[in-house]
């Protein structure tokens, strides 16, 4: 049924349809409305889940880790400082191969404290072993949660998934959303069943000490499984399309008007909506521009990116996060896709924008396309205010 919903409400609805046995979350702006809505559903008797109130995000992650280790489905959500506080447990969840789904309402990281949107929080956890999806709009956020449980719980995958949605823009924005029927969800997502669980009838130890004789194989296995996810995800996306009718191509990247494009921006998350708008405007004026949207950031779909960009002459990579002291994260990975390849863009340039919630406007995007014509190759911060950089200690 189509409903006009706030992003957080829509996500709470789809999570309730996935029927997690355990939900544990600690409130943090801008994630708060999601667990609030789920807690209300549980209190009103509409959702038969155990909602565990915890004293921190570290505990929230630990509770869902324990829950999934007993063989049931679980859910948590967080943001920014909360995600970083979970950090230690998140590595454990991936290492233990527990298929938890977490919503990260993307927010800047302190200091200075800032509650608005950028993607520094989830990008900082990119090496944790979690699969990471980035949503462009609320409908996509809803659908990616369903797909997240499906891929996470696949018997050959068994990895946690972080669905990253831009704070405020997607958590607090309202949109007309199609919330699927319960029966359709049941068809797509069967109940979670596994023999890999803590069970007193069949005792086993999870999370044992693995010394130098064992540890490396556990990491190798996660690395290989991420590569398998790149092959499996398009099949699941196809099945999703058959049942629900919505098409996410292969669920890895979305190429928007790139076929004959001379300039393409690569980006992730809600800014892709703005870029599509800018692309349409510039196309009307005869400019050959396009967008490559990264939906799945981990595993990193290098081959799809190569195919989409190999004949594009100029590429701008738009990061909403930094790897302080080095190149921006998405930029350095896009560039490495083309190392040693004969067919490659002539120019791949790094742009950083929208940190700490600074608006990325249509003008910002058009500026990026304009700057891509210049000879400069240095990284550039868009909409920076140099007058604020005069402070002395």
């Amino acid at each position: 049924m189509k409903e006009f919903l706030e992003g957080s409400q829509a996500i709470a609805k789809i999570i309730s349809l996935c029927k997690p046995a355990v939900i544990a979350a600690y409130p943090i702006t801008p994630q708060t409305h999601i667990p609030e809505e789920l807690a209300k559903m549980v209190a009103d008797g509409l959702l038969n889940s155990e909602f565990v109130n915890v004293e921190s995000e570290h505990s929230a992650a630990s509770v869902v880790l324990g829950a999934v280790a007993t063989g049931v489905r679980a859910y948590t959500a967080t943001s920014s400082q909360g995600l970083l506080l979970m950090g230690e447990v998140l590595f454990n969840i991936a290492g233990l191969r527990l298929p938890i789904v977490l919503t990260c309402a993307n927010r800047a990281v302190s200091a200075p404290i800032n509650i608005w949107n950028d993607q520094q929080d989830s990008i900082s956890l990119r090496d944790s072993g979690w699969i990471q999806f980035y949503a462009e709009n609320i409908q996509e956020a809803v659908d990616l949660h369903l797909i997240a449980y499906r891929i996470a719980e696949d018997k050959n995958v068994m990895l946690p998934v972080m669905v990253c949605i831009d704070g405020y823009i997607l958590t607090h924005g309202l949109e007309v959303v199609e919330i699927p029927e319960e029966k359709m969800v049941e068809n797509f997502l069967p109940p979670y069943q596994t023999n890999y669980k803590l069970d007193i009838e069949n005792p086993l130890t999870l999370g044992f000490l693995a010394d130098s004789d064992y540890y490396m194989e556990t990491r190798f296995a996660i690395q290989k499984t991420h590569q398998e996810v790149l092959k499996l995800l398009p099949k699941i996306i196809q099945e999703f399309k058959t049942i629900f009718g919505r098409d996410y191509q292969e669920g890895l990247v979305e190429a928007y008007r790139t076929e004959d494009a001379e300039k393409v921006i690569v980006a992730m998350g809600s800014v892709c909506g703005t870029i599509k708008e800018a692309v349409d405007d510039l196309r009307k004026k005869g400019k050959k521009v396009g967008l490559l949207k990264i939906i799945t950031y981990r595993p990193f779909p290098s081959n799809k990116i190569y195919e989409a960009l190999k004949d594009v002459s100029k590429v701008a990579v738009l990061d909403r996060a930094l790897s302080l002291g080095s190149d921006a994260p998405l930029y350095s990975e896009i560039r490495s896709v083309f190392f040693g390849k004969k067919r490659a863009p002539k120019l791949i340039r790094s742009f950083i924008a929208g940190l700490g919630g600074r608006d990325i406007t249509l003008e910002s995007i058009k500026t990026i396309f304009k700057k891509l014509s210049l000879k400069e190759t240095e990284e550039e911060f868009i909409d920076l205010k140099p007058e604020l950089l005069k402070e002395k200690l």
Binding site: R97, L204, F208, E217, R219, F220
Partner: protein
């Protein structure tokens, strides 16, 4: 793909921690033992056995040579001796 993920009960017996011993091993003299069981309780490997006085001994396949048993024995009836190969 999965690496080593879980252990079944009792499988840790496959790890023969006796190979960790370096310079010393405990020697159970079995002369002044009063069967207080302190050595059994303190052994981190749980590899000391015995019931009656002067019957206590350890399993050198698992003894790491930490010396806790010799340290705690109230009768100095366990001593650490040079490891013999």
């Amino acid at each position: 793909m999965f690496g080593p993920l879980f252990c079944k009960p009792l499988t840790s017996k496959n790890n023969k921690t006796g190979s960790w011993r370096t310079t010393q091993r405990p020697k159970f003299l079995q002369t002044n033992c009063i069967a207080c069981r302190m050595c059994v309780l303190i052994c981190p490997e749980g590899c000391i056995e015995g019931k009656e006085k002067n019957t206590f001994h350890c399993d050198y396949d698992y003894c790491k040579g930490c010396g806790n048993c010799a340290e705690i024995c109230p009768k100095q009836d366990i001593i650490m001796v040079v490891e013999e190969k």
